[in-house]
Structure formats: structure tokens, C-alpha cells
């Protein structure tokens, strides 16, 4: 599904990602954890195609094709979705228009007929119930005046409506109370399938109590420094990130 090869990324001339390699297969859910400033959001954004994140070397291969130079909207239409850590509010644009434009852009790409307003409304009503948002949110300006939790649930709504093959969730748990986190987790869990893959980026381990990862990777200072199974989350919960840094320092000294 996704193959990242020795990826180096700069933002405004500063190197943020310093050689990332990662394989994500269909059906898998990978969690990427790390301290603040490690480059987690940059990784999410470069996968989604943000042009401020410049790939200086390495490759991003999505479903067999190198997408380094593919614009964000084409990645999205091909089924790559990113949930924003800080969803952007867009005054004046109704939530439902954004959703419908996105869904129809993807359907067009898939050679499916575009949905008219009535059919789209039917579709989106079933999805919005799953994230426990009131239908009135469809007619409000995108994320405008939404609470933190409402914004994140709206991101999950977009995921459910767009039905991506690869979902990258950037700190979807930040700013959520426990009830909202459960709703988000249920949304993701219900959406998991052998055809879909997920990269879940999180600072804290607590989301992983509700969404069980197949693999956990630790991102520090622009590198994936440790990988393991779900049990790694428990270690990080108990011991934080400092011990990994200590391990790394020790390894560097012994070289």
C-alpha cells in the first residue's frame, strides 16, 4: 500500500525528516509515536503532498507508484487521506459542500457517477450518525466555531465519506476528552478492513487503548529509531521517550 524509502524532507531549508523508511501493507495499522518536534506532522503532511514540505531525497510509493511529484488533490482522489491535527476553519463554505465536492472528485477519478445533492445527503446522513455529530453541522461553515472535539469528529466524518484506502491520522486524539476519543476510535475501528491501511500518528499512548495497532514506530529527531509490536506502547507509557534517547546515545558512543 505505502512504501517510504529513505525519505529526507526540508521545510524552509531546515531538514526535518532525515531518512525515513516504512512499509505499510493493506489491512495494517501502524502507529507512529514520538515527542514534540520529532517530525510527526511533517511526515503526515509530506504524505498528503503539502508543497511546503520539500522532498530532498528518497521516495514515497503509494500503491506501486512514486507520488513524490503528485499534487495533493490527485493523491486524495487516489484514496490517500490525511486527518489534520489542526483542521482549518473556512468561513463561508458549508461543510456539506466541501464534503460533496471531495466525494465527487474521488468518484469522478474512479469513473463512478457523481452524486447529486439528494443522493449525497442520504450517504452523508448515515456517516454523520457514526461520529455522533448533529446533522446541523453539515450546514455550518467548515470547522468554523467547532469545538476541538467537533473538529476531530468532522475529520473522521470526511474519512468515512471519502472511503480512502490509506488513512493518515495526525494527532486525531489531541484535545479530545475520553468520550470523544471513544467515538473517534469506534469510527476508525469500524472502518478497518483487509483492503485499507492506517498510519496513526500520536504523541500519547492512550488512543492506542482504543485502536489496536499492528506495529508501533518511534519517531525522534526525524528518524524512525525503534519499531515493535503493540507492547511497545506500554513501555512508552511507563517510561516516556527519554530511555530511547539514552539507548541511542549509548549505541552512538560504542560505535
Amino acid at each position: 500500500m505505502l512504501s517510504i524509502k529513505n525519505l529526507h524532507v526540508e521545510i524552509e531549508g531546515q531538514e526535518i525528516l532525515k531518512g525515513i523508511s516504512l512499509e505499510v501493507k493493506a489491512g495494517e495499522l501502524h502507529a507512529i509515536m514520538g515527542p514534540n518536534g520529532a517530525g510527526k506532522s511533517t511526515l503526515a503532511q509530506v504524505l498528503a503532498g503539502r508543497d511546503a514540505c520539500k522532498v530532498t531525497s528518497g521516495e514515497i510509493i503509494y500503491r506501486g507508484e512514486t507520488i513524490n511529484d503528485v499534487v495533493p488533490e490527485e493523491r486524495a482522489r487516489a484514496g490517500l487521506f490525511m486527518s489534520f491535527q489542526y483542521p482549518v476553519s473556512i468561513p463561508g463554505v458549508n461543510n456539506i459542500y466541501l464534503l460533496q465536492a471531495g466525494v465527487n472528485a474521488r468518484r469522478k477519478h474512479q469513473d463512478l457517477e457523481e452524486l447529486d445533492a439528494v443522493d449525497f445527503l442520504d450517504l452523508v446522513k448515515t456517516k454523520i450518525a457514526q461520529v455522533d455529530l448533529d446533522e446541523s453541522f453539515l450546514y455550518r461553515a467548515v470547522n468554523d466555531g467547532f469545538s476541538g472535539g467537533e473538529k476531530k469528529r468532522n475529520e473522521i466524518l470526511q474519512m468515512l465519506a471519502l472511503e480512502p484506502e490509506l488513512s493518515i491520522l495526525d494527532e486525531t486524539d489531541s484535545g479530545l476528552d475520553i468520550d470523544a476519543m471513544k467515538i473517534v476510535a469506534e469510527g476508525v475501528n469500524g472502518f478497518r478492513s483487509p483492503e485499507r491501511a492506517f498510519v496513526v500518528i500520536t504523541h500519547y499512548q492512550r488512543l492506542l487503548n482504543y485502536i489496536e495497532p499492528d506495529f508501533i514506530h518511534v519517531l525522534m529527531d526525524g528518524r524512525l529509531v525503534k519499531s515493535g509490536g503493540p507492547e511497545l506502547a506500554g513501555d512508552l507509557e511507563k517510561r516516556g521517550y527519554a530511555w530511547i534517547q539514552a539507548e541511542l546515545n549509548e549505541a552512538a558512543l560504542s560505535d
Binding site: A48, G49, R50, A52, V71, P72, E73, R75, A76, R77, F81, M82, F84, P87, V88, I90, P91, G92, V93, Y97, L98, L99, A101, G102, V103, A105, R106, H109, A141, V142, Q158, L162
Partner: protein
């Protein structure tokens, strides 16, 4: 010609000729004495004031020099048919049509109006003792304004809208349609008077349109007078064409507990200057003043507002937005004046601008002058471009940049168009905005 003796300023010679010609016309002499006095006084003021000069603070960013240097005709009434006119404007119970500043009965359409509302050509309504006579030129009191002075003297046509019934609760949408036509530098001096008597309710759209290739100068004055508990919804559209210049003075005078909703849209006009003067004369008066100016090409649009809180406990909400593309230029000057007695004033003023091109410019200048101590006044203005974060957000949902741009620009514009309360008018103004954007995308 006796009138030329009063000329002291350059650039007004041709208008002196029009003034002399006007006085020689048959209908001129038939006007009531009081009206002729207003005209003469107007001409004397204009002759004294002359055209605004660049050095004057209020005219720093906008010049009508081309008008003072141009040569205008007054009588080129082109060929228009009822079907040309029918497609212009929102659905209305009455549409009164003026072509180049002159009322045309044959083009106008007046269905059966309820007794509570009347619309008539203003020139017929100004006899001594009439309501129009009583209120005419009572709100338009900016006597040092050269274009008001010019209009006082030279106006040739307009409409009087009168709401008289406190019981009429139904909304009767009325349309005043000014059409400029002809390519020979047409002059268009219009005057409208809208009076809502105590408790009455009026809904008016006044639009200024030009036929294709129209070249002309409009100098319009509109007075809106809302008496106790009256409501006026007044929407204004200016879209006269790239070779048109439009000067407008709009005066609003409000009495106790009256409510005015005023919305202005201007686009596709070479040069626009609109001045909105609001006097909140009595307690409980309330106004929403909204505007949208869309400029492209080398167009220039200047909106100027003066919100005078004269009495206590009045409320004003002012919100102008501009979208500037091409080499267009926008100007917004918004002034709130709170008089010493106007305690408990509640006033908001905002101006937001969206600049879509590297060559477009906008000047924004909100100002407060507060002489009372117990008031709530806010003001703010912004000039921004399309937000990169928002653009990426759209793209990441599969939407291409062109569509994203259109959705965002629409959203920015509709946030103010949305405040139009009369549904038929709102749809019309929304379509105006959509058509402008579609045309801009194709350009």
C-alpha cells in the same frame, strides 16, 4: 447666458451649459417654487465648490478629474424594449425604469400595490403640501459635497417610494431600475426618495445597470427616511460597465425604534464612489449596513461611510467586504461618530478585503470619533489573500485549486450577501456575485 457669470471653478463649464439648458425646458418652469429654489441653491454651491481636487483629504485616493474634463450629453435615450428591461432585476411587484436619468412609464411595470405602499416618479410628487415635498432634501444635508450640489441642481428623474400604513405586514418588493445606455458620454443625474411613515414597512432594490458598451457618468442621490418604528430594507446594485463612472450619495435618517437594513453591491463599473451617510436621530434606531465591492481589470471602487450616533440607545452594525482582482483598486473609509448625548451607543464596524492578484490594491481606514463616555464601539479591518492552509485543506480532500478558490471566494462574499433579508432580492444579488466570479474566472 446669465448662469455662466457664476462660474468660478474650472471643469464645470459643460455642466453650466446643461444647467442653462435644463432651465429653458418647459417642465422646469412648471416645478413648484420651493423645488426650483433647491435647484438654484444647488447650482450656486456647485459653482462655488467646483470638482473635488486631489489635495482634499476626502478625495486623496479617488479622482473624478476625467468627468470634469469630459464632455457629456444628456439626451441620448437609445432603443430599449420592455423585454430588455424584464430580464434586469429581481422579481418585484413594481419596477420603475429610468433610462439615462429619465423616467419611462412604458418600460415600467406596476402591478396592483396594496394601499400601504406607493411608488411614483419623484418629479410628479413634489408639489407644495405633499409628503414628498415635506421630506425632499431633508436627509441630504451634506451641503459642502460638490456632487450633492450638482445633483440638487441637475437631477432629471427619480422615484418616490412611500410607505404609509402601520398595519401592512407583508413585504412588497419594489425595484427602481436605472439603465444607462449610449456610447456618447451620457450623463445620468438621478434622485430617489424613500419615506417609511411610522410603523410602515418597505423593501426596495435600486439598481444601476448599463447596456453593453455604455459610456457615461451617473451622479445619484438617494434619501431614505424611516420614521418611528418603520422598517426599510434597501438594496443597491451598481454594475454599469467598465466605461462608466458612478458617484452616489446615500443619506439615511432614522427616527425612534426604526430599523434599516441596507446592502450595497458594486461590480463591473470603471469608477465607483459611494458615500453612505447615516443619522440615527432617536433612541432605539437600528441599522445594518452591509456592502460588497468586487473589482477587476483597472476598476476603482471607493466606499465611504459616516455613521452618526446622534441619540442614545441606538445600534449600528456595519460590515463591508471587498474582493480585488486584476489591477483593481478598492478604498474603504468608515467613520463612526458618537455624539455627546448618544450614551449606550452600540456600534460595530468591520471591513475585510480579499486580494486575489499581485497587482490589485486596497486602502482601508476605519475611524471612531467618540464624544460620549458610556458606549460600546468596535472596529476592525483586514486585508488578506486566500489562505494557503485552507487551500491545502481543500486539495487534501480531492478538490482542485481552481474549484477551491471559487468556493473560498464565494464563501467570503456570501458571508455579507447573506444578510439580505428579502428572499427574492437575496437570490438576485447572489446570482450577481456568482456571475461576476464566473466572468472573472473566464477572463
Amino acid at each position: 447666458m446669465s448662469t455662466t457669470a457664476t462660474i468660478t471653478k474650472t471643469g464645470i463649464e459643460q455642466f453650466a451649459t446643461h444647467w442653462a439648458a435644463l432651465q429653458a425646458e418647459e417642465w422646469y418652469g412648471a416645478q413648484p417654487t420651493a423645488l426650483r429654489k433647491v435647484r438654484s441653491a444647488g447650482w450656486d454651491r456647485f459653482a462655488r465648490l467646483g470638482f473635488p481636487q486631489k489635495g482634499q483629504e476626502a478625495w486623496r485616493q479617488t479622482t473624478f478629474a476625467a468627468i470634469s474634463e469630459g464632455s457629456f450629453t444628456r439626451d441620448d435615450v437609445g432603443q430599449l424594449s420592455g423585454s430588455d428591461v424584464a430580464v434586469c432585476g429581481p422579481p418585484a411587484v413594481a419596477t420603475l425604469v429610468l433610462v439615462n436619468g429619465v423616467y419611462h412609464r412604458s418600460l415600467s411595470q406596476i402591478d396592483e400595490l396594496p394601499e400601504s405602499v406607493s411608488v411614483n416618479p419623484l418629479l410628479d410628487q413634489l408639489n407644495d403640501g405633499t409628503v414628498a415635498h415635506d421630506y425632499f432634501a431633508t436627509a441630504a444635508i451634506d451641503k459642502e459635497h460638490p456632487f450633492l450640489a450638482m445633483n440638487d441642481a441637475l437631477w432629471t428623474g427619480g422615484v418616490f417610494v412611500h410607505g404609509s400604513d402601520a398595519d401592512g405586514d407583508e413585504t412588497v418588493p419594489l425595484h427602481i431600475l436605472h439603465i444607462g445606455t449610449g456610447e456618447d458620454h451620457v450623463m445620468n443625474q438621478t434622485r430617489s426618495l424613500v419615506v417609511a411613515e411610522a410603523g410602515s414597512k418597505l423593501a426596495v432594490t435600486e439598481s444601476f445597470l448599463g447596456t453593453p458598451n455604455y459610456v457615461g457618468f451617473t451622479n445619484a442621490v438617494t434619501e431614505l427616511i424611516a420614521l418611528d418604528n418603520a422598517r426599510i430594507a434597501y438594496n443597491r446594485l451598481v454594475a454599469e460597465g467598465r466605461k462608466a463612472s458612478h458617484m452616489a450619495n446615500i443619506f439615511v435618517s432614522q427616527r425612534r425604534n426604526s430599523k434599516v437594513d441596507l446592502f450595497s453591491l458594486s461590480h463591473t463599473t470603471g469608477l465607483v464612489r459611494q458615500e453612505f451617510n447615516v443619522d440615527l436621530m432617536d433612541e432605539g434606531a437600528e441599522i445594518t449596513l452591509g456592502g460588497l465591492y468586487l473589482v477587476n481589470g483597472h476598476e476603482h471602487s471607493d466606499n465611504r461611510t459616516r455613521m452618526a450616533h446622534i441619540a442614545p440607545h441606538a445600534r449600528s452594525r456595519e460590515n463591508f467586504r471587498g474582493i480585488l482582482d486584476g489591477h483593481g483598486e478598492g478604498v474603504f473609509n468608515g467613520l463612526i461618530v458618537v455624539h455627546p448625548d448618544a450614551q449606550q451607543t452600540d456600534a460595530d464596524l468591520s471591513n475585510h478585503n480579499l486580494v486575489l492578484s499581485d497587482h490589485a490594491r486596497v486602502h482601508t481606514n476605519p475611524q471612531l470619533e467618540i464624544y460620549a463616555d458610556d458606549v460600546r464601539c468596535t472596529h476592525g479591518s483586514t486585508v488578506g489573500q486566500l489562505d494557503d492552509d485552507a487551500m491545502f485543506y481543500f486539495q487534501s480532500r480531492g478538490i482542485d485549486p481552481a474549484q477551491a478558490r471559487q468556493m473560498m471566494v464565494n464563501g467570503f462574499a456570501y458571508a455579507v450577501v447573506d444578510q439580505i433579508g428579502v428572499p427574492a432580492f437575496k437570490e438576485y444579488f447572489e446570482n450577481q456575485v456568482t456571475n461576476w466570479m464566473t466572468a472573472a474566472d473566464g477572463a
